[in-house]
């Protein structure tokens, strides 16, 4: 076989494999869309391409009096905004101290962060439940938000500290000569220069409440306090085949905006992770 023919064959095989991947990726996603357009609620009678498609489930989510969908959306947004804001504030404080100062316990602190970020919140569920119960924050969005904010510190402090380390120390020194104090350097040098990584942290923490269902499941009891993920899960956790189409519709309405945000910011997210992870 000539060189050229071999090359053409290779390229064809590559395209074929990519097409195969596209089908594997696309099928479940399109299937979900198809399900959400089925008028019935049962998975059994649902068709991939429904004969008489309808938006009845979408309508139900927004207009039916027994639907809490909008409340869940509101809850998720509240938790997400609070989580993103306080996480950025707390982690940037911690990361600044760890990046720019040498103090007793610093090294052990770094080791502790690296270790703790691998411990999933699951490992401490019972304690979290009992403690929130003791301080009366069970079944409340405040309790949920507090756990999110505390739990993200090890991972994100590490990430942001890594980024701060890449900002040249000469800049701090120059600012100090110009009379800036500890806070001046932080607010006028570090924060503005670290915007990309702070954006990553804010985005991750904004997304977390939308996609996490485990913590809400342990903490929240009353359907009026549910976040989206938990509410949707409950559509199908009880009677599996009965509300699947409704679940599909509700899921699409959160998956689409989240997917768009991720696709638009993927470069930014991944470079942030590599910068923090390897240099950091």
């Amino acid at each position: 076989m000539s060189r050229k023919a071999k090359s053409t064959l290779e390229v064809t095989l590559i395209y074929l494999f990519l097409a195969f991947m596209a089908v594997i990726i696309g099928y479940p996603l399109l299937w979900t869309v198809g399900m959400s357009l089925n008028p019935g609620t049962s998975l059994y009678s649902a068709q991939l391409i429904p004969d008489n498609w309808s938006l009845v489930h979408y309508k139900w989510l927004f207009t039916d009096p027994s639907s809490d969908y909008l409340t869940w959306y509101k809850n998720s947004v509240i938790v997400a905004v609070a989580n993103a804001f306080f996480s950025v504030v707390l982690t940037s404080f911690v990361a600044y101290a760890f990046s720019r100062y040498r103090f007793v316990g610093r090294k052990y602190g770094l080791y502790a962060f690296l270790l703790l970020q691998m411990f999933p919140a699951m490992m401490a569920m019972v304690a979290i439940y009992v403690m929130l119960n003791m301080v009366n924050l069970l079944d409340s969005l405040i309790g949920l938000t507090l756990i999110y904010i505390g739990g993200q510190i090890p991972f994100n402090a590490w990430l942001v500290k890594g980024y701060f380390d890449t900002i040249p120390k000469e800049l701090d020194e120059a600012a100090r000569i110009d009379g800036a104090g500890h806070l001046g350097v932080f607010f006028r040098i570090m924060l503005p220069l670290a915007k990309p990584i702070l954006g990553v942290v804010a985005l991750f923490n904004f997304m977390a409440p939308f996609v996490d269902f485990l913590l809400p499941r342990i903490i929240l009891r009353n359907p009026e306090n549910f976040t989206l993920a938990l509410g949707l899960f409950n559509f199908i956790s009880n009677q599996f085949d009965n509300n699947f189409t409704r679940f599909a519709a509700g899921s699409i309405l959160i998956a689409v905006p989240i997917a768009i945000v991720y696709l638009l910011s993927q470069r930014f997210l991944i470079s942030g992770l590599t910068a923090g992870g390897t240099k950091g």
């Binding site: 390229v11 998975l43 991939l48 019972v126 403690m131 500890h182 899960f233 085949d241 992870g277």
Partner: protein, 436 residues
Amino acid sequence: MSTANPTAKQSHNPKTAVILSILLAGLGQLYNRRYVKGILFIILEISFILTLGRFLNLGLWGLTTLGTMEGTDHSVVLLIYGLVSLILIAFFVTLYIINVKDAKRDALRIQKGERAPTFREAAGNVWDKGFPYFFVTPGLIMLAFIVILPLMFTVALAFTDYSQYNQPPRALLSWVGFDNFARLFFETGGAGNNIWQDTFISVFTWTIVWTVVATTLQITLGLFLALIVNDPRIKFKRLIRTILILPWAVPAFVTILVFAAMFNDRFGAINTDILAVFNLSIPWLQDPFYTRIALIMIQTWLGFPFVFALFTGILQSISKEWYEAAEVDGANRMQKFKSITLPHVLYATAPLLIMQYAGNFNNFNIIYLFNEGGPAVRGQNAGGTDILISWVYDLTFTLNQYSMAAAITIILGLIVTGFAFFQFRKTRSFKEEGNL
């Protein structure tokens, strides 16, 4: 400052300052004639003892006894009080040590005859030296109560007898030493019908197989796709990359639940639409073997895009000159891959790849959402696809075997620490830190 310093006071003894400040925080500072600081320390200590003394006393008593009056004392609450007391005491001891060191330093200064700083100077000094601590404190407090305290609680729980039949406030808990671990490793069958050893071994083995196979597959597929899409002959790169990233962009809990429906034995699309063509019907959710296969396939689907995106970024940053030099030396494609591409890619991403393994090791979401760890298996109290962490969840929330769950959690924690150890070695910053 030479020895002939006229203000030097040989009579001022640092030892006295240290002893005084050990007796009562602040006394040493008073001896050093640093009155404001001394009084602050004294107020701090006395208020600490007055406000928290009773709580600490109760907490420490609770921690050792776990309560003595059945029905009145709540062992779990006492346990948490005890752990909070320990954290508070740790804070207090740290402050105390700072106080003693401070008294000693000031006394030495006076002995040498250095001028005592004015209050303003001292305050400025505290702000300067203490700044990192002020900045770390809010995060540290959150961390102490939301991450560290719960972990301590879990560790403590593993050494008690908290189970469905022994629940506070009805009953009192007691410390049982390593009994729970002994049951986990050695208890086979018997009266309680709890076959802990068998279950532990089978869950543990599957956890390891799951972690290694699923993670390696997702990394391999991600790497392979990154390589072929990076090929200069391939067009529409942006579109292809967007499609390949999609599984990462869609929230995982949605896709896992969708897959769970698609793999449904009776009316899932896999059996009714795809396999029906070949006249096949596989019991995806009934047979542990097939459930495991399905889980590994789904995790590969979910996990490869992140690795793909990561590798794509690195591949683009490898200088073309490396490859040109290799071509001049007559290297073939395989050699170029093995000696240039692979080392580059792995070196830059090692910490994140370790995190992928750690993530799958603790991947509760997929196991639980797909089939709740099922199908059930005879003769053990975990489902056929339960990994350690989902077994812990079941033991806690379904079977109420709190202490056994905590014991398994400790084992899990030790393994995770192993991952973290690898991570330390692979993360460059720690090597760089050494030079600072």
